[in-house]
């Protein structure tokens, strides 16, 4: 027996923290930390739907696996872009405007 309010509160908290982290960071790598928190909030919601007995085809376990895999692919490409930008501009400050064409 479990109350469903707990997973919902945790998911909302994680998504809120992630959005705050995305907006507060100027370091492009640390922006991804916020993205990870938002995605983990989504994971908690999906698994909570399974625990409540409301899913078919084991979607509450399979879709989180998909989310984790897609997040891994996204982080790999994002970090490659950040490193390329660091080599081209010498900084990963998200607030900095590029003075000239890269």
């Amino acid at each position: 027996m479990i109350h469903l309010a707990g997973p919902y509160v945790l998911a909302a908290l994680l998504v809120g923290l992630g959005v705050a982290g995305i907006t507060i960071r100027r370091n492009a790598v640390l922006l991804l930390v916020g993205v990870e928190l938002v995605l983990s909030g989504g994971l908690v919601l999906l698994v909570a739907a399974q625990a409540a007995g409301g899913d078919r085809w084991a979607a509450g376990s399979v879709l989180p696996l998909f989310v984790i895999t897609i997040a891994a692919a996204e982080v790999v490409v994002a970090l490659a872009v950040v490193l390329a930008a660091f080599r081209a501009r010498g900084t990963i400050d998200l607030d900095e405007r590029s003075g000239e064409a890269p």
């Binding site: 027996m1 479990i2 109350h3 469903l4 309010a5 707990g6 997973p7 919902y8 509160v9 909302a12 908290l13 994680l14 998504v15 809120g16 923290l17 959005v19 705050a20 982290g21 907006t23 507060i24 100027r26 370091n27 492009a28 790598v29 640390l30 930390v33 916020g34 990870e36 928190l37 983990s40 994971l43 908690v44 698994v47 909570a48 399974q50 625990a51 007995g53 085809w57 084991a58 509450g60 376990s61 399979v62 989180p64 696996l65 998909f66 984790i68 895999t69 897609i70 891994a72 692919a73 996204e74 982080v75 790999v76 490409v77 490659a80 872009v81 490193l83 390329a84 080599r87 081209a88």
Partner: protein, 173 residues
Amino acid sequence: MTALDTAFAACGLLAGTGGLLAVTTRHVVHAALWLVVALLGVAGALLVLGAELVALVLVLVYVGAIVVLVLFALMLTSAPIGPDAAHAVPPWRRLGAALLGAAVTVLLLSVLLPLAGDQPVDRADVTSTQVAGQLFGTWVWPFELLSLLLLAALVAALAVSRVGRRPATEGSG
């Protein structure tokens, strides 16, 4: 409060504390390490909810791979040891980010909490055998597409990371 509620609250507290510190700390490396704590808390919460496969994959992929990747990226972008003075944000921006995060949390809670109900529900047990059967039955084509996605991400990361190289080093690379 049932026993599962108590266990979930402990894991959720760990996840919330880790997430808060990962977002607010000024040390860049500490942010990545607090993310580990937050993700371990989330994995514990998933374990309490009965999805042990997802919890293990979360620890393996997120903590084992993604956080290490983030740490490497921090090192390659010359992250400072100690507080990150170059990327410090003004107080109004911290306040704005906190307000935005709180607003998102309140919005989600206002949508989700009415769905929760007052009574505890029986936790549905989905075994790993069932998950495996569905994964290679119902979900097999999306699952195969994921391997293509990972391959595309691998090739794209390699291609993008070679773009910024200077011509002098291109021959050796």
